[in-house]
Assembly symmetry: C2
Homo-oligomer: 203 residues x 2
């Protein structure tokens, strides 16, 4: 199972944003939507082996988080507006159903932020994508039991950074240029694809 | 200079599409918009060394093409709606100004399809991204003088395929999984980033 956690410092945890101006009204939820596409969608299909968590730290209902599980999700389309509509509908639930609510197949809303996500993740190896760290192509950790933490366009806020540091994470770098969050996920998925294919050939 | 040509089999060459339903009304121009982002935008900046061509083969005004030059472009934002607005405004010019029109800094509309783009490209080495071809990470061609041709969600149409084959292009593969077009561009850009950095270190 491949897992990505994207932390949106100001991304809206409430559905009160406008589809005609997602960047300007949602705390840059658009950055996170592009991460969902990058993690889950391939040519004509969904990655059934991937789960994405969005940690939403912005707006009146924060913190909340959303888990999108490729094994169960249906009808995910790659364009930002479609993905925004899906997330907006999920965020519209009232949250009185308890700490987490399955809002439709594969999509769960958590009434909590990074801690709720860490509880849900269990004992996966944490890994933070970080400019200048050991190169993804060379790292020898077992990437397949790893959960990757990705910052948004602002990077990680200080409490998130401290919480992640306390986990003693591995760090992985992606090359010489600082990339947008979704591109970082694309590169990780490609490396995992390659390692899985090699493992199958070897096995 | 890094160059990418994305061919949209049905992508609208006219501005008559709806921003509230880009996938459904523009012949999947959204696929091409994501390619623009992937090619040109990095964390907090534009890739000044990259040019993207969109070949628009759909709708009443086809074929037309758009060139977006990272060295001159300004105010490009990563979200699909902003990019769609930019392209829609460019396509609204009447085309009576000749075979190509600079519509704003860095953005040129050509009143022609792949042939117009090939004329503009001059003598760069053509390279087609193709599942199963020699791996991008291993190829020994000089990727820096190469122009990469990328199909949309439908792949290349037959006339485009024949026209590209006549160029005797190199072919490059990206790994074991068939990816969306923008992800393919992300992987190429990362490889080019790495090779440029190695060349600088070696030099």
């Amino acid at each position: 199972m491949r897992r990505f956690v994207v932390v949106g410092q100001r991304a809206s945890a409430s559905p009160d944003f406008l589809l005609v101006d997602i960047p300007g009204t949602s705390g840059r939820l658009d950055v996170l939507l592009r991460c969902v596409r990058a993690a889950l969608l391939v040519s004509h299909g969904l990655r059934r082996d991937t789960i994405v968590y969005l940690v939403l730290l912005g707006g009146p209902r924060a913190p909340r988080s959303i888990r999108i599980d490729g094994a169960a999700a249906r009808y995910l389309r790659p364009d930002e507006r479609s993905l925004a509509t899906t997330i907006q509908k999920a965020l519209a639930i009232d949250g009185r159903g308890g700490p987490s609510t399955l809002v439709r197949p594969g999509i769960t809303v958590f009434e909590g932020g990074l801690d709720a996500v860490l509880d849900d993740l269990g004992d996966a190896t944490p890994c933070v994508l970080e400019q200048g760290a050991e190169d993804l192509r060379e790292v020898t950790i077992d990437l397949r039991n790893t959960v990757f933490f990705v910052g948004d366009h602002l990077g990680f806020d200080e409490p998130t950074r401290a919480r992640l540091a306390a986990l003693g994470p591995a760090t992985v770098g992606l090359g010489p240029v600082s990339l947008q969050a979704d591109d970082a996920i694309v590169l990780v998925q490609n490396e995992l694809d390659r390692r899985d294919a090699s493992a199958q050939t070897a096995g």
